[in-house]
């Protein structure tokens, strides 16, 4: 039994955080009025966000152990537990999920007109599952949350999405399913190799034979690479992002993509260190392709959402590069980049969604001179465009800088090539901003749109707050993850050192 820190809160705070949105969804079913439904959803997500903030405050950054742990027997015959816990890595994503869940409700206030009840239910169920993934300390429980997410997401894309939504929903569902069934097999193999236990901390302490590690790594890699998505498994992403409603895009880009990377951090690196080292260079190279290829594709897009989607592929490439160079700067940078990308991309999708509500077009060529029509909106767009470019003073800058420092320690050539990705992002983002916001108003339909209201400004401002906070003073975030990342790196390296000595 691996020890974990005691729950300092005195009540099962993680269960509360995870299950609160689900309870909210059930409560919503009893309501009839659309406005009441939206208000209740907002209330539930606000409460959940407040709870995660409290969690952050009580979090002890000095230990790598799982905190606020809960463990109850679930299926004793297979030694499966309902076990929750967070460490310095997952606590950030618990917060991110709750935060973006709150943003999603705000973003859907006007965007969703039909079947509001169903949508809010799906959104809240989705939030429960996302939080569950980051809190689960039992592999079986993790998989339940991970896989169950397909159902609400399939509906969110397919019911409330754009014109080509059915194709996108199918593609998303089948792609993700194909990946995760392999994960299931790998997971059961680990179960038998690791002494018939699904307990994640226990599985981390086991030493698996090299060949087992190789095969399980491949199975896990396909599942996570599809979720991230890494080149060449990325083709579902542009379709899903473009067709999903704004809140769906935010959930996808902000949280779902992080789950793939989180899977690498939680399973591949600590449990399969030998295979991780074996495959590190190919994975870094594939990530490099994603950085540059994604950036190139983004350059060519005329659809705002597609542009952001391809930029996501490029930016997530930075994350996976950072994780697989296997040094402390790279890991910390990768994790921070995940957090920062979750905030910034969500903000960009929100901005695209806000202007789409007004003009009903997403084509960049339909825009121009938006600054004259919607000055507050354009200010927001400018800020987040610059943030996505990783301008110093924004969160992406810190993340990418740390990743590049890490990559530099791995290989100078790779670092040099990764910088091309950063240059490309400046190219497509600035040209997008120019074509949308500057110049003359060419499309008369734009003149009818109105500027942002208070709700929208609040959503954008709160997102901007974190961009600047991480950008100017990242230490609180780096401190939270420090102990856990150090421990993770030790775990990853211990076995390799042992093997090389022999």
């Amino acid at each position: 039994m691996v020890d974990s820190a005691v729950n300092t809160m005195g009540f099962p705070v993680l269960s509360l955080i995870v299950l609160l949105p689900l309870a909210g969804a059930l409560l919503l079913l009893c309501l009839k009025d659309d406005l009441q439904i939206k208000r209740l959803a907002l209330l539930v997500t606000t409460l959940d966000l407040a709870l995660t903030l409290k969690l952050l405050v009580h979090f002890d950054p000095h230990t790598h152990l799982m905190q606020f742990s809960e463990k109850y027997q679930w299926i004793p015959a297979l030694d499966i537990h309902y076990a929750l816990g967070v460490d310095g890595i997952s606590v950030l994503f618990v917060f991110l999920s709750a935060f973006l869940g709150w943003i999603c409700v705000l973003a859907s206030w006007r965007a969703i007109e039909q079947h509001v009840k169903g949508f809010m239910c799906a959104l809240l169920v989705m939030q429960t599952l996302m939080l569950g993934v980051f809190c689960a300390m039992d592999l079986f429980l993790f998989f339940i949350f991970w896989e169950a997410m397909l159902i609400p997401m399939y509906l969110i894309i397919g019911v409330w999405g754009g014109d080509n939504r059915i194709y996108a929903a199918f593609k998303f569902f089948l792609y993700t399913l194909a990946g995760s069934v392999l994960f299931l097999v790998g997971m059961i193999v680990l179960y038998f190799e690791g002494g018939q236990s699904f307990d994640i901390p226990t599985l981390m302490t086991q030493k698996y034979p090299f060949t087992v590690q190789l095969w399980v790594f491949i199975a896990f890699f396909i599942a996570f690479a599809i979720k991230v998505p890494m080149f060449p498994f990325h083709t579902w992403l542009p379709d899903a992002h473009v067709q999903a409603p704004t809140a769906g895009s935010i959930v996808l880009a902000g949280v779902l993509l992080k789950m793939g990377a989180y899977g690498f951090l939680r399973f591949s690196l600590p449990m399969l260190p030998l295979a991780t080292h074996y495959f590190a260079t190919p994975v870094v190279l594939v990530s490099l392709v994603a950085i540059i290829y994604g950036g190139y594709l983004a350059l060519a897009q005329d659809d705002l959402k597609k542009l952001v989607a391809y930029s996501s592929i490029s930016h997530m490439g930075f994350v996976t590069v950072g994780l697989f160079v296997l040094n402390i700067a790279g890991l910390k940078g990768g994790i921070l980049q995940m957090f920062s990308h979750g905030i910034i991309t969500s903000a960009l999708f929100l901005l695209v969604g806000l202007v789409y509500e007004r003009t009903h077009t997403r084509l960049i060529s339909d825009y121009g001179g938006l600054m004259k029509v919607m000055p507050i909106y354009t200010a927001g767009l400018a800020f987040f465009t610059l943030a996505a470019m990783a301008l110093p003073g924004t969160s992406a800058f810190i993340g990418e800088l740390l990743v590049l420092v890490g990559v530099f320690g791995f290989s100078k050539i790779v670092a040099a090539l990764a910088v091309i990705g950063a240059l490309l992002s400046a190219g497509y983002l600035l040209s997008m901003f120019k074509r949308v916001a500057l110049g003359k108003v060419t499309n008369q339909a734009l003149t009818k749109s109105w500027d942002l209201d208070a709700r929208e400004v609040v959503a954008l401002l709160s997102l901007a707050l974190f961009v600047l906070w991480v950008g100017f003073y990242p230490m609180p975030f780096l401190n939270i993850m420090h102990a856990s990342v150090e421990h993770l790196l030790q775990q990853t390296q211990a076995q390799v050192v042992l093997i090389s000595r022999q």
């Binding site: 015959a77 509906l155 399913l177 059961i188 193999v189 179960y191």
Partner: protein, 480 residues
Amino acid sequence: MDQDAIIQSLITSLPEITVLLAACLLLMLDLVWRRQRVAVIGYLAIVVIAIAALETLLIAGQTAPVYNGMFMLDDFAVFFKLLFCLITALCILFSIGYLQQAQIEHSEYYVLLLFALCGLMILASAVDLIIIYVGLELMALSVYLLTGFKRQSPLSNEAALKYVILSALSSSVLLYGMSLLYGLTGTTNIADIAAVIGPQTAIDPLLIFAIVFLIGGFSFKIAAVPFHMWVPDVYQGAPTSITAFMSVGPKAVGFAVLLRVFLQGLLPVSEIWLGLFTVIAVATMAVGSIVALVQHDIKRMLAYSSIAHVGFALLGVVAGGEAGIASVMLYLLIYSFMNLGIFASIIVMCQGTFGGERIEDYTGLSRSHPVLAMLMLIYLFSLAGIPPTAGFFAKFYIFVALIEQQHIALAVIAVMFSAVAAFIYIRIVMLMYMRPPTGEFAIQLKLPPQLALGITSVAVIVIGLFPSWFLTLAQIAILQ
């Protein structure tokens, strides 16, 4: 047999006797008391089934064979008997409104279902090849008649005829295999067969013949490839409530007998049949999931989907061992709930002027009937094996059993086909939720089918979230 043994035998087979006598009584009752509504017979049949289930529970716990060692009431038999009682009761529940709708409301329907149930229950206890054959025929004869119950419909007649001819053929194949086995071992008792065959070093070629014939016969009963051809036509033609019954009852009993014969009687020569079952399982999954993709009739689609599920359950047989047997039993239990649930939804849809047989008929269902659509969504995702539904745990435990026996390549093939099969189910979800309705729905939810829908959907969710109790049940009830 002395007097004590006879009494003991009668007590042990009390549930079967109850069902049989009650079926005869209900048949008479309809003749002498003509004015009553046929539905009353249905409710009475449910009461009979409840009594039989209760009796089964009361006499459970012993493992001594009776009737000169031909009939056994072990935990394994009790598990399956209770499952069959449940299946039949649920079928009757959603038949009550359907028969009226399809204008085939005759009390013989329920009587025949009870006879079929009796056959199923005998089969669950059969530990002798002769009893197995008798039970199979009792069940099959009742189901032939029920298949052709829509007398006015040519499709139903065709289905019944096809089923009779092909089933007779397969029975003869099975009987041939049994007779070969008897010739080789000199006994029809499964436990004795295992003892006689023993750990022999040289394999008798005749034994291979016998096993191949047995596998052929059983494959027909459980609808495994290449003996699955009859399934789509028969499922499509039969009254929908009987299709539902056929897709779970006879299939589950096929597996029960298969487990007894192969994992008990023929276990010493497992190297002969293991490879064959592996090939059949993979082929069954492949044909079932791929052909289901192109179906337009929902009953045909579910026919192929049930074939795919048979392939999955066969993997548990391949895995063998305690976990393998338990995984098959759990799979059948969960599969029964979700398949009966989806068929109950179809039956509800079929009412009124509305067809409900084409998959397109479900377009836009969620707009006008959100609850029914939601229930179908649960069943469909469960059939696809997506958590947190029960269907996921059924598949998961099959994989656990497979990987425990180091059949990892087989597990990978299986998960791939399960991803393919998911498409057929989410396509229906897509139609229900993502397309606007094209016509009016005329759905009248009566209480009995509502009850069936309620029971099955709650079971699918509860087993999915808290599988522990049901898993333990299956693990306790495995063959000793």
